[in-house]
């Protein structure tokens, strides 16, 4: 226990904030106005971006950390936590974001990776990090590096939930298997998952990750949010699905707010079909989206990071 009056890198404080976000919806926003809509609609946090994943995907080019000016404007508007993304391995972007005072950094595959071998050493930071994962090994490697929250990757910017489902199912199934194995079998599993044995043992004992496990990448409707939460996600990130009509045009703000409210309610009442029907009925359309089955692997964001 420290009587600090300064900054602390305690993992408990880092996962503590993630605990507060459970059962909630974290929304991607690109302007202060969108942040205000998100907050009014009941978002638990916003992700401040220059472009949402659907735009990044459509426009191509190198995707970097958002301009601090945009993030600062969003921080000035939002009373809820503000997150921002840095490129995989780009610890200098992370240092800038920490200096700026964001509440969480997403070391994200949505941006163009800055390092082909190393992720950011997240223990070195006061600000907590969230990282994407497609399977248990990837999740545990990120946790070993200091991630205080995991989100399944899905396929960002598509509005297609199929890989969000694939990744949460994969992680949950791999965790279940660990819980029924004998002590002596865990060493080989650690090797197979390419993850630290100590973390594998913790998952085998608890049946869950040692940090909160959220879902992201393609969630566009209240039903999508309910689906991934019924599969074991503890909260959801909704990126392009709220404020985008398609990959280049923004949705009408009134419609966006309606959709945001509906997804917030769906995250809370994820196992109550009556409420889900009620909130779904009010909505007109959803993002057009991009079917992942039509994407070749080179265009997938999820394969970034390892």
């Amino acid at each position: 226990m420290s009587k600090n009056n300064g900054h602390s890198t305690s993992p408990r404080l880092k996962t503590g904030l993630a605990e507060m976000l459970k059962g909630g919806v974290i929304m991607d926003v690109t302007t202060a106005q969108q942040a205000e809509i998100a907050q009014k609609a009941g978002a638990v946090a916003v992700m401040a971006l220059e472009r949402v994943p659907a735009q990044i995907r459509a426009e191509g080019g190198v995707a970097r950390m958002a301009s601090p000016k945009i993030i600062r404007e969003i921080m000035a508007t939002a009373d809820i936590p503000v997150m921002a993304k840095c490129r995989i391995g780009h610890f200098a972007e992370a240092q800038i974001l920490q200096e700026l005072g964001v509440d969480y950094i997403d070391e994200s595959e949505v941006l163009t990776p800055a390092d082909e071998a190393h992720h950011v050493d997240k223990h070195a930071f006061t600000v907590p990090f969230v990282c994407g994962a497609r399977n248990l090994g990837e999740a545990l490697r990120r946790i070993a590096e200091g991630a205080a929250m995991i989100r399944t990757k899905g396929e960002a910017g598509t509005g297609d939930v199929v890989h969000a489902v694939k990744h949460i199912r994969q992680i949950v199934q791999e965790m279940k298997i660990l819980t029924v194995l004998g002590e002596e079998e865990l060493y080989a599993k650690a090797k197979e998952h390419q993850a630290p044995y100590e973390l594998v043992r913790i998952v085998a004992r608890d049946g869950k990750l040692p940090v909160p496990n959220f879902s992201a990448g393609g969630i566009a409707t209240p039903a999508d949010a309910s689906l991934v939460m019924q599969l074991g996600a503890e909260a959801v990130f909704v990126g392009s699905g709220i404020f985008m009509k398609n990959s280049t045009e923004f949705a009408d703000p009134v419609e966006a707010e309606k959709r945001a409210r509906a997804i917030v309610k769906a995250a809370t009442h994820f196992n109550d079909p009556k409420v889900l029907l009620e909130v779904s009925e009010d909505l007109v359309g959803a993002m057009k989206g991009l079917a992942i089955s039509g994407l070749d692997e080179a265009h997938m964001l999820q394969t970034r990071g390892w």
Partner: protein, 187 residues
């Protein structure tokens, strides 16, 4: 004796676990009518603006009635909800405690901290996460715990509020204090 934990959003599961360890039967409360079946309620940490949104008018009115009748314990966002005056920004409260509370009063996440405070004059660990501060205490509001000079846990009658997160520490004294309040009605 059933204890409810408001489970609209936030760290309700951490409260559930702690209360169950202490032998309570816990109900996760998501619907207004569930309030009829419980002897006491915990309002967890989370985002207070999200809670208000999810409560809606009906839920808010029902909860407002509940907290005047039955023992209620709010932590962080829960404490904000129980107050009658909220600053930064201004926000409605249930008005169960005559206090003024300021949201995010220590700053942002990088200013979150684990400190040692005093609970009923004994040292105790306190986890503050984007925590609020109690800026004004109304008449008859009793200070139960302090950190430095700040009141961080207060009580009036059956209503209890803490600006920190006892559910994130290993110490169970504060939850036991609340359960005693539900059982005995007083200390």
């Amino acid at each position: 004796m059933k204890i409810g934990v408001l489970a609209l959003q936030g760290d309700f599961d951490a409260h559930r676990k702690r209360l169950e360890e202490l032998g309570a039967e816990v109900v996760l409360v998501k619907k207004p009518e569930q309030l009829d079946d419980i002897a006491g309620l915990v309002i967890p940490g989370g985002e207070s603006s999200t809670f208000l949104n999810l409560l809606g008018k009906e839920g808010f009115a029902k909860l407002k009635g509940f907290v005047r009748m039955k023992p209620t314990f709010g932590t962080c966002a829960g404490a904000i909800l129980l107050a009658n005056e909220v600053e930064n920004p201004k926000q409605v409260g249930l008005g169960a405690l005559d206090i003024t509370i300021r949201r995010n009063a220590y700053g942002r996440q990088v200013d979150s901290s684990i400190r040692e405070g005093q609970f009923l004059h004994d040292p105790i660990e306190m986890v503050f996460i984007r925590a609020p501060k109690i800026e004004r205490l109304g008449k008859d509001v009793e200070v139960v715990a302090t950190e430095g000079r700040d009141p961080v846990m207060v009580r009036k009658g059956n209503t209890l509020a803490a600006t920190f997160h006892p559910e994130l520490s290993d110490d169970s004294r504060i939850h036991q204090y609340f359960l005693d309040l539900v059982t005995n009605g007083k200390h």
